[in-house]
């Protein structure tokens, strides 16, 4: 793509995301804009960068080969001012356990969630699916089993652009890998959790300031 063509396609992409609103796959973008999927990937990357400036109010969300456009999390209060109402809905303990597992370790199977929670989780998974907080697709390696992933809706509720942006995403995944290899050294673990707790406390301090 040459420079002027690229600018035109960037504008087209912006218009498409605005009209479509919902999560859209790279494949669909390439079809609508009549470009290759590779070009669509690059175009989206450029568009994402163009939104990073302080003078822009929008952000791109990413999950499972799809993207969606939304308002930056820091402007969440604008809507609350518009509707003059605070949005609140608590997460119950079971939802919290299940969502955390899905957010940090997706795609994840029901059996793995149940292993870590120690309890049958079919009801809570159904409830979370109905609330549109998670999605599932058939496990390509196991017939009759599903893999659970966070939905765009969930990412938006948490104000993150992709699951990898969660605090300590890498750390928890390394921890999990070690556990699965059965190699977790107790000292390592203590050190790790201290670090994580420190980070949380730090964040809370920052917030209260």
């Amino acid at each position: 793509m040459n420079e002027s063509n690229k600018n035109k396609k960037l504008a087209e992409l912006e218009a498409l995301l605005f009209i479509y609103g919902e999560p859209i796959s790279f494949k669909k973008i390439s079809e609508v804009l009549e470009i290759t999927e590779d070009d669509a990937l690059k175009l989206v990357e450029d568009f994402k960068e163009s939104l990073e400036g302080e003078n822009r109010g929008l952000i791109l969300l990413f999950s499972e080969e799809k993207i969606q456009i939304g308002t930056k999390p820091e402007f969440s209060s604008i809507l609350e001012k518009l509707i003059k109402k605070e949005i609140s809905e608590d997460l119950t303990p079971a939802s919290l356990e299940t969502l955390a597992l899905i957010l940090y370790f997706s795609p994840i199977s029901r059996s793995k969630i149940e292993y870590h929670r120690g309890v049958d989780s079919s009801f809570i998974l159904k409830s979370l699916l109905l609330r549109g907080l998670i999605e599932r697709y058939p496990d390509p390696k196991m017939p009759n089993a599903y893999l659970y992933v966070p939905s765009f809706n969930l990412l938006r509720h948490l104000g993150i652009s992709k699951k990898e942006d969660l605090p300590d995403y890498q750390k928890f995944n390394e921890l999990n890998k070690k556990f699965e290899e059965g190699k977790l050294v107790q000292e390592d673990a203590n050190h790790l959790s201290e670090n994580i707790i420190e980070n949380i406390n730090q964040e809370e301090q920052n917030k209260s300031q």
Binding site: G118, V119, G132, S161
Partner: protein, 249 residues
Amino acid sequence: MNNVYKLKIFDFEGPIEKLVELIEDKKLEINELSLAQITADFLNYLENLTSQIQSEENKKQYLQILSSFVVMASRLIFIKSKSLLNFNLEKDEEEEKAIKDLEHRLRWFKEFRPALKIIKNLWLKNIIFSRSYLEKKFLVSHIFAPGNLKDAFFAPEYLNKIFGEFEKILKEEKTLAKNIISLEEKIKSLLAHFKLVQETNFSKLSENASRQELIVTFLAILHLAREGLISLEQNGYFSDIIIKKRNHE
């Protein structure tokens, strides 16, 4: 309007998180001894859950969840009794393995637990807003008239998806219903048939039959042939199977 999309679900911490919490409250390390020490607390929790479920309308559906807690409680009681009796119980390798596995899971969850706090802190703090595809939103709002934004929050853009899921389930149910032609029933009906006729063939038997029925019929014939009640003949590849009743002297 407020309750339209609300799904009531009885909700509580899973056994693993509860155990980690109880152990941490007492500032204990994760090992067999500390598990023995918190057994009473866990049993209290279980009793509390059970009494809550008693007052629920659909208590039957919670039994499956409750059973996981009962299994955990019985394991803890086993550990506790082992620690109280000052002699070695007969070694049960499977149980030993289960206890080791439990400790492993508890250590894992203890490390993972800060993640729950992270998610809780992020939840609804700074929401990213987007909107649904105009056409779909138009349709949904006309059929379901979502009340205020708070209710609609969880639903409109996902309603289509949910209905898609329902459709899948409905379709599945239909095929399931068709599937049920038991082999036993088929054998009985064939035996009745052979009381009337001496000879028939497979294509006659399976006339207008669904694929499933065809298979069941075939299995039934094989079964009857094995029992020596009928004989099978086929004169060439893919030609019709001639079925003859065998008369026993």
